[in-house]
Symmetry: C2
Subunit: 416 residues, 2 copies
Amino acid sequence: MMAMSFDVESLFAERMRNVRPSLTRELLKNAGGPGFISFAGGLPNPKFFPTEALITATEAVLREDAASVLQYAVTEGYPPLREWIAARYKQRFGLDIPIEQILITSGSQQGLDLLGKVLLDPGDVVINERPGYQGAIHALSMYQPRFASVTLGDDGLNLDELGHTLRAHAGRAKFIIITPNYQNPTGITYSEARRRAIADMVRRHNVLLVEDDPYSELGFEGESGLPMRAYVEDRVVLLGSFSKIVAPGMRLGWLVAPPEIMQRVVIAKQGVDFHANNFAQRVLHRYLIANPISEHIARIRAGYASQARAMIAALECCLPPDIPFTRPQGGMFIWVTLPESADAMVILKEAVAQKVSFLPGMPFFTDGGGRRYMRLSYSQADEATIEEGISRLARVILQHLDAPATEQFGIRSAMA
Amino acid sequence: MMAMSFDVESLFAERMRNVRPSLTRELLKNAGGPGFISFAGGLPNPKFFPTEALITATEAVLREDAASVLQYAVTEGYPPLREWIAARYKQRFGLDIPIEQILITSGSQQGLDLLGKVLLDPGDVVINERPGYQGAIHALSMYQPRFASVTLGDDGLNLDELGHTLRAHAGRAKFIIITPNYQNPTGITYSEARRRAIADMVRRHNVLLVEDDPYSELGFEGESGLPMRAYVEDRVVLLGSFSKIVAPGMRLGWLVAPPEIMQRVVIAKQGVDFHANNFAQRVLHRYLIANPISEHIARIRAGYASQARAMIAALECCLPPDIPFTRPQGGMFIWVTLPESADAMVILKEAVAQKVSFLPGMPFFTDGGGRRYMRLSYSQADEATIEEGISRLARVILQHLDAPATEQFGIRSAMA
């Protein structure tokens, strides 16, 4: 018999049909090499990785309990690690969270995928921030929702717009997803009044609130605001991460959810990978209980605060005053708003040629907007490098604003 | 304003509506404690975990390269680990696999989830083995396919039935998923002729073949059969695992796919968890290159071969000859076929009371069948314990076959 011609394209699921490799990623493929300065990735600074303490922790748990450390484990995660997380919420905020409501995930990114899987049918509405975290947009997009983005201001979501959006999508909106602390990409923090108002609106509508909170420990001046769970316990899913306070290479985060939701999330997690890496969970837990974590986190906070100050000073110095940017109280990001005519994709291409990078705004918008914005991460570079990088970048920006993009670099049409 | 009553059930996605906690899992909650003998879980024997070598490997990679080991990493996985996998296929089978076609997954279970995500729309048809691996059924079920199960014989899938099924579902069947080596749950191995015939059928129809191959290194007498990729390279996705040859707690496996499929899988993986645990990947890679792996695997093979022989001898001794069971050439499982009237769920409940466990057949069937089957795992217990456990279990089975289940334990209706 003849072999049939193989039409591999027809085998893909509908959800994959419109997925294309990211243009930003393509541009950043040329980034790197000696002297290159990256403000693009949201990468923790490796100088804060607790290398020696992790070696000690690994040796301890493997010597004491290898038969369990290296074996399959329960889907919910290592109970003492979940207890540590609960104790930390208690210590920081006085919040009581039963460990049955805590699941260890393979990074908080996996929490987003699990929520998409458990909650979203195609066409369901997700209310998110505009701009909002691109990793959440990517993870949730796989479940084919419609995004209804609500403008993010300096204090949080615009409340009028949120109310209008909730009413417009009543019955189809499944959840609101926000990052109240040191948001990615803007660096802004929600005010207490805004948190309270959003909690009220969640209580008035049949929706969940997802609080994506990976940066919460990185406040420059003391503790972050109260978790949204303190306002609406039964309607909040809270995502946390060890990536920013210990190490992202360990891919460990957590998801806090009320019992009905947790039950489904555990079933979904079981199908996905049985459980988070048990070896890494055990090493991490041993590290956490054997070391002064609050002091470690205080060092990270102080380091990022100093780097943020250096970047703000450099931006104030090098950019004209009519280009506003955020002044974060914590976290890793500054958000720059360029004039309307600017095109951050064009700027990025030239910036990479000048050995400096950032993320353009577009991946943070679900409606094709965002060309005039830039996300700068100050977490990776030291203060002197930040100064040099911002100075390079400012030159590229000023040159771009002096001349229309199409004439200057001649690539706009090729990239559209 | 009044708070609306919170209807959490209405927030769940369609795919979660019919998901219920597993009855087997509930029954096994009472399993364990002193003297308990488990033939239920597919757990590797911890005596083969290379504890000291992993401590050494961890110390080495962290001392040398912590800034990279603990950082975010590329979605595809650590390139030298992918090279190691390619080299092993070359060494074992003479197969050339470019590393661009290899992705590191969070256990091979994640490979199943990613394939569901990339390939399946609701209502698509998955052709699987009857009985087939319950973890694959669980992972893929989340994407709401219809399963068309094809009877598994001693040499592999029934070819007439497979041909009929492919024709009946032409245009809607996305892939055939099989475990040709030491299958879970039956322990059977596909003959070379059957592999070749299935490859021919895949070539004649517009489908993919997914080869789920976690046990392939565990052959009792030399190498397993050739991977299906050797027969139909461009139409096969191959899933492999480090769980059975190193340690499942590290949650590392791999997925081999042709370029068009790999491109989509990488995009999906990025949304799910960015990349597999980098810390574990680096430790594992260092362990693999610094130790004589073939000798380590030879010890595991010899150990499981001896345990399998012990279980076969005990079954031959304790069960009547009209109860057939498989005699595996590798892997971890034996499959017992009880008389038609038997009910393995009822037997399990009594067995747990007698401090011995197994998995009943039902989770391996997608059509509600399987009550008369038992899966026994010999990987965890030593030879003497296997003898004692089979003797306990045989007593429960014989008692069950002597009396109608409903009268004997009085629980059938309660469990239906």
